[in-house]
C-alpha cells in the first residue's frame, strides 16, 4: 500500500493540492487532493509531472555533486561541498573587495525551492553581500502588475481569490489564456459561465476562453493601451461609471479623463482593429454587471508599456466600483508556482520581505537589527533584465543564479550568452544541468520539490505548505542550507535547523504575514495574506471598505497615451511573433521535459502557430519544419496551421530549447518594470525544401544538446 504525502503542485500558480503516492521510497503516482483552489482536480502537469524526480535524463540530468572548474574552457569536475563553497565564497569576496557589493547580482527562484529558501537568499544578498541586486523571474512576467497595482491600489497582488472567480457576474479576460497557463483557473471561468456570468475576451488569438465568451474582441497585437483607454473613454462619456464611488474613493479623475478623452471607440477602432460598437458593448456589459472581475496575464505585461496598461485596467475597476467587495476586482494571475512567493519574501530589488521598501529608513533599521548588521543598502538594486547591459558596461562582475534558467527565459539569448561569457564569476544553484549552468564556474546541486518542504504562495496570495515525499539521491542539499553555508563562509554565521524556523523569523518581520503559522497551514490549510494576527483567518479579497493601501488611502486613476510596439514589422520581417505558453510544459522545461508522459505529448522543436491565410501566403505547410528568424536570431520550428491565430501574427511557446523563441525576441522593455516586450518581435518565415534532411538534422541537434548537458555533469 502506497503512502500518501500531501503537497502542492510545483507548476503553475493555481496552488493545487495533491497527494504523491510513495512506495519503497519512490513516487509511483499522484492524485488530486481537495485543496482550496483545485477542489479535487488536477491538470496533466499535476497528474504526470513528477517523474523528473527519477532522473529520467530525457532532457538533462539531475545535478548530484557540486561541480567546479577553474577556467571556463575546462570541464567541470566533481568536488566536495567544502571545496565548492570555499571557491564560490572566496571569489565572491574578492570581487566584492575589488569592485564593491553592487558588482554582484543574485536571483531568487520562483519555482520549487519555496518561500523560506528565497527569504534566506534575499537575506544573503542584503546582509552578507550588502546589495539589493536581487531579482526573480517576476521581472519577465508579472512585474508590471506588481508595479502598476502598487501605484494605483497600493498592493501588487490579485485583489480577489481564485475561488471567487466562479461567483462573479462578469469576467473581462484581457491577454490571458487560462486554458494553457492555469487549467484549474480556466475551470473557474467555465463554472462562472455556467452560473450565468457574462464573459468578455480581449485577445488577438482565438483562445479557448474566446470560445465560451459572450463577446470576443480580436484586438490587434500591440494595441492594449489604446483599447483600455477606449474602455475608460466609454465608461466616462456614456456615464456608465459609478460617480459616487469615484468621488469617495479615488483620486486623479479629471486628469485621467483628459488623457482618455481622445481615445473614442471610433478613434481606437483604427488602432485596435475592433469595431467601435464592440468596444462600447464590452463596457456596457462590464459596467452593468453587479460584480465584475478583470483577469490578465502576459498579454498585458510583456510589453514596453505593461505598467501603464495595468494601471489603466485597475482604473476600469475603480471607475465601476469593482473593488473592495467579494467576487470582483483585479486579477493578475501569477504564472509560476511560487512567483508570488518570491516577491512576497523580498526577492525584488526594491523591497524587503512583506513589501517593505528598501528606501524606507525605518524598514532598513528594523531588518538590520533583526539580521545583526549595522546597516543595509538603501539604493534600489538592479533588475534581472538589465544584466546584459550592466555586464557590457563593466558594472556587474558576478552572478549567483538560483533556480532559474535565464539562458532560456531571457530575451535576445545571443546577447545574454555574451554577457554570461564576460562575467568574472557565475554561480549556479539548481536541481538540473540547464542552459545557464553551462556558463557556470561553480554549480551547487540542490534538493527538488518532492525532496524538501516549505511554503509556496499561490497566485491569489494563498500560503500553503508543501511536503517532502522522498529522500534525495546524491550529494545534494536544501537551497536554504547551501545559501547558509555561503553566508557562513563569507563571515556571516548563518544556521537554520528547518524551514519552520526560517518562516517564523520571516513572519516576525512582516506584519502582513505574521498570522500565517505553520500550524494554520497544516493539511489543506490555506492562508491568504494579509494575515496580521494568529487568530486572523486571512484575507480573501483586498481593500475592504474601499480603503486602498496607498498613501492617501484612495485608489489612483492614472492613464497614459498609447505607444506603438517597439519593433514594427517591415518588408523583410513581415510577421509579428508573440511568445505564449504550452499547457503540458512548464517554464524553462527542465522539470516537465524530464517527465515521460508530458514529453510524449509535446517535444522539440515545438510549433509556430500560423493563420491559414498567412500559411498560404508564405508557402507554409502544416506539420512541416521551417526557419523562423528575426533581427537577432534564427531557429527551426514546426508549423501548426490554425484559424485560431490571427492574420499577421505567429505564436511560439517559450519552452523549447532548439525551437527557442527567445533567440528571436528583443531586449526592449518597460521603462518602469523592465519587463521585455516578448509579445511583439518582427519575424520572417522560410520554407525548408528538404524536409527529411531537416528532420534528421533536428534529431541530431537534439541528441547533441542532450549529450553535451549529460557530459557536463560527467
Amino acid at each position: 500500500m502506497a503512502e500518501k504525502v500531501l503537497t502542492v503542485c510545483p507548476y503553475c500558480g493555481s496552488g493545487c493540492k495533491l497527494n504523491l503516492l510513495v512506495e519503497n521510497g519512490s513516487i509511483i503516482g499522484a492524485e488530486p487532493a481537495h485543496g482550496v483552489t483545485n477542489e479535487g482536480e488536477l491538470c496533466l502537469k499535476g497528474y504526470y509531472g513528477w517523474d523528473f524526480l527519477n532522473d529520467t535524463k530525457l532532457l538533462t540530468p539531475r545535478l548530484k555533486k557540486p561541480l567546479l572548474r577553474e577556467h571556463r574552457r575546462d570541464d567541470f569536475k566533481e568536488v566536495s561541498w567544502d571545496e565548492a563553497i570555499d571557491f564560490a565564497a572566496t571569489r565572491l569576496m574578492e570581487i566584492k573587495q575589488k569592485y564593491g557589493a553592487d558588482s554582484i547580482m543574485m536571483t531568487g527562484s520562483s519555482r520549487g525551492p519555496g518561500n523560506e529558501a528565497n527569504y534566506v537568499m534575499q537575506k544573503f544578498a542584503r546582509a552578507v553581500v550588502g546589495t539589493n541586486n536581487l531579482d526573480c523571474c517576476a521581472r519577465v512576467c508579472h512585474a508590471p502588475s506588481v508595479a502598476g497595482l502598487q501605484a494605483t491600489l497600493g498592493n501588487g497582488a490579485m485583489s480577489n481569490s481564485i475561488c471567487e472567480i466562479e461567483d462573479t457576474k462578469c469576467i473581462l479576460v484581457f491577454g490571458y489564456n487560462a486554458a494553457d497557463s492555469h487549467p484549474i483557473v480556466a475551470r473557474r471561468i467555465i463554472k462562472a459561465k455556467e452560473k450565468g456570468a457574462t464573459i468578455i475576451v480581449c485577445d488577438p488569438r482565438f483562445i479557448e476562453t474566446a470560445r465560451i465568451a459572450d463577446l470576443y474582441l480580436p484586438i490587434r497585437n500591440g494595441s492594449n493601451m489604446a483599447i483600455v483607454n477606449a474602455f475608460a473613454n466609454v465608461l466616462i462619456e456614456e456615464e456608465l461609471y459609478d460617480k459616487d464611488y469615484v468621488t469617495r474613493y479615488t483620486e486623479g479623475f479629471e486628469q485621467y479623463k483628459a488623457v482618455v478623452a481622445k481615445y473614442t471607440p471610433e478613434y481606437v477602432e483604427k488602432i485596435a482593429g475592433v469595431p467601435a460598437a464592440q468596444i462600447r458593448q464590452a463596457m456596457r456589459i462590464y459596467a452593468a454587471a453587479p460584480t465584475a472581475a478583470i483577469l490578465w496575464g502576459m498579454g498585458v505585461t510583456q510589453w514596453g508599456q505593461g505598467v501603464n496598461v495595468v494601471k489603466s485596467l485597475s482604473g476600469l475597476a475603480l471607475l465601476t466600483g469593482n473593488l473592495g467587495h467579494p467576487n470582483c476586482g483585479v486579477g493578475p494571475v501569477r504564472g509560476q508556482n511560487n512567483v508570488q512567493g518570491a516577491c512576497d519574501v523580498g526577492v525584488l530589488p526594491n523591497s524587503f520581505p512583506g513589501y517593505q521598501k528598501v528606501s524606507d529608513p525605518a524598514a532598513r533599521a528594523k531588518f538590520a537589527k533583526a539580521w545583526g548588521v549595522p546597516d543595509l543598502p538603501a539604493n534600489v538594486g538592479y533588475c534581472l533584465t538589465e544584466v546584459p547591459h550592466l555586464v557590457e558596461q563593466g558594472k556587474l562582475k558576478a552572478y549567483y543564479i538560483f533556480g532559474e534558467d535565464p539562458a532560456q527565459s531571457e530575451p535576445d539569448l545571443a546577447g545574454f550568452r555574451e554577457a554570461m561569457r564576460n562575467l568574472d564569476l557565475v554561480i549556479v544553484q539548481d536541481i538540473f544541468m540547464n542552459k545557464t549552468a553551462m556558463f557556470a564556474d561553480v554549480i551547487f546541486p540542490a534538493t527538488s520539490w518532492g525532496e524538501h518542504e516549505g511554503i509556496y504562495s499561490s497566485a491569489d496570495r494563498g500560503f500553503q505548505r508543501f511536503n517532502k515525499a522522498i529522500e534525495p539521491k546524491g550529494d545534494v542539499k536544501p537551497d536554504w542550507e547551501i545559501i547558509s553555508l555561503m553566508a557562513t563562509a563569507m563571515g556571516y554565521p548563518m544556521k537554520y535547523n528547518n524551514t519552520e524556523e526560517i518562516w517564523n523569523e520571516l513572519r516576525e518581520l512582516c506584519p502582513i504575514f505574521y498570522g500565517a503559522t505553520y500550524e494554520k497551514m497544516e493539511g489543506l490549510g490555506y492562508v491568504q495574506w494579509p494575515c496580521p494576527t494568529e487568530d486572523h483567518p486571512g484575507t480573501t479579497y483586498l481593500y475592504k471598505d474601499n480603503k486602498f493601501d496607498t498613501a492617501s488611502g484612495k485608489g489612483l486613476l492614472i492613464a497614459a497615451d498609447w505607444i506603438p510596439p517597439h519593433e514594427p514589422t517591415d518588408e523583410e520581417f513581415p510577421l509579428v511573433l508573440c511568445t505564449v505558453r504550452e499547457v503540458g510544459h512548464y517554464s524553462a522545461r527542465t522539470m516537465t521535459g524530464n517527465c515521460r508522459a508530458l514529453t510524449t505529448l509535446a517535444d522539440e522543436p515545438g510549433y509556430v502557430q500560423i493563420n491559414r491565410a498567412d500559411a498560404r501566403k508564405y508557402g507554409v505547410e502544416d506539420q512541416k519544419l521551417l526557419w523562423i528568424s528575426s533581427r537577432r536570431g534564427k531557429v527551426v520550428v514546426r508549423a501548426l496551421v490554425t484559424d485560431r491565430a490571427n492574420e499577421g501574427a505567429v505564436y511560439m511557446t517559450y519552452q523549447w530549447w532548439i525551437g527557442a523563441c527567445n533567440e528571436l525576441t528583443g531586449g526592449h522593455h518597460d521603462p518602469v518594470s523592465r519587463t521585455p516586450e516578448y509579445k511583439y518581435t518582427a519575424v520572417k518565415l522560410e520554407r525548408i525544401g528538404n524536409q527529411a534532411e531537416a528532420e534528421s538534422r533536428l534529431l541530431k541537434e537534439y541528441d547533441e544538446l542532450r549529450a553535451s548537458l549529460a557530459a557536463a555533469v560527467g
Binding site: 503516482g29 482536480e41 488536477l42 491538470c43 496533466l44 497528474y47 504526470y48 517523474d51 527519477n54 529520467t56 487560462a178 486554458a179 494553457d180 487549467p183 484549474i184 480556466a186 475551470r187 467555465i190 459561465k193 482565438f206 479557448e208 470560445r211 465560451i212 499547457v583 503540458g584 515521460r596 508522459a597 510524449t600 505529448l601 517535444d603 490554425t642 484559424d643 485560431r644
Partner: protein, 187 residues
C-alpha cells in the same frame, strides 16, 4: 442500450489530460516510466477546429457498423458497449472504413499483447474506446478531466436530459400562452 463517454465542448480547454490518462489506462502499470510517442495510443483524441475543442471517441453505437462489417468477429457487442477481441483482428480496416466518427484505428501491436499467432508476420489490433471495462473505477478520462467536460451517458442520463428538455418545452408553451399558434390555428 449502450453507454458512452462524451465531452461537452463548452467545458473542454483542450489540455489533453484525458489523452494521457487513456493511454496509460490501457498500458502496463509501469507505462509512465516507459511511454514514448510510439507507444502513446490514446483511444480518444482532442480535436481543435477553428471554433471547437473537444475529445472525440467511440459512441458505442447500438447498431454498430463496425460490428456489422467485421469479418472475423473482432468487434463484438458487449454488455453495454462495443468491445474488441484483439486476438481475432486481421487488420482488414473494415471497421475504420465503416466508423462514422473516425474513432477506430488499426495499429501494429506488440506480440505479447496478442494471444494469437499471426497468419503472417504482422501483429495488428483494432483499437477503440472500451469504456475502461477492465478498470474498476470506470473510464480514466472522465476521472481526470480537470473541467469535468467528459461524462458518461447511459439510459438514465439520457432520460433525465430528455425530461429536462420536455419541461423546457412545456415552459415555452406556457410563455406562448394564448398567442400560441395552436390556439390560433384551432380557432
Amino acid at each position: 442500450m449502450n453507454k458512452l463517454v462524451i465531452a461537452d465542448p463548452g467545458r473542454c480547454i483542450g489540455c489533453r489530460t484525458c489523452e494521457l490518462a487513456c493511454a496509460l489506462a490501457h498500458s502496463a502499470p509501469d507505462a509512465l516510466t516507459t511511454l514514448s510517442p510510439a507507444s502513446f495510443i490514446p483511444r480518444l483524441k482532442v480535436v481543435k477546429t477553428a471554433t471547437v475543442s473537444t475529445p472525440v471517441q467511440c459512441r458505442q453505437c447500438d447498431d454498430a457498423p463496425c460490428v456489422a462489417v467485421c469479418p472475423t468477429g473482432t468487434l463484438v457487442m458487449g454488455d453495454h458497449s462495443v468491445q474488441v477481441i484483439p486476438s481475432r483482428c486481421i487488420g482488414c480496416k473494415s471497421c475504420m472504413i465503416a466508423c462514422r466518427f473516425g474513432v477506430i484505428e488499426v495499429l501494429p501491436c506488440e506480440m505479447n499483447l496478442s494471444d494469437r499467432q499471426p497468419f503472417g508476420t504482422t501483429h495488428v489490433e483494432a483499437v477503440k474506446c472500451d469504456l475502461c471495462e477492465s478498470r474498476g473505477a470506470g473510464p480514466a478520462c472522465v476521472e481526470v478531466c480537470p473541467t469535468k467536460a467528459l461524462y458518461i451517458v447511459d439510459s438514465v442520463v439520457l432520460a433525465q436530459a430528455a425530461l429536462k428538455r420536455r419541461e423546457h418545452s412545456a415552459a415555452m408553451l406556457v410563455i406562448g400562452g394564448s398567442d400560441g399558434y395552436m390556439s390560433h390555428t384551432g380557432g
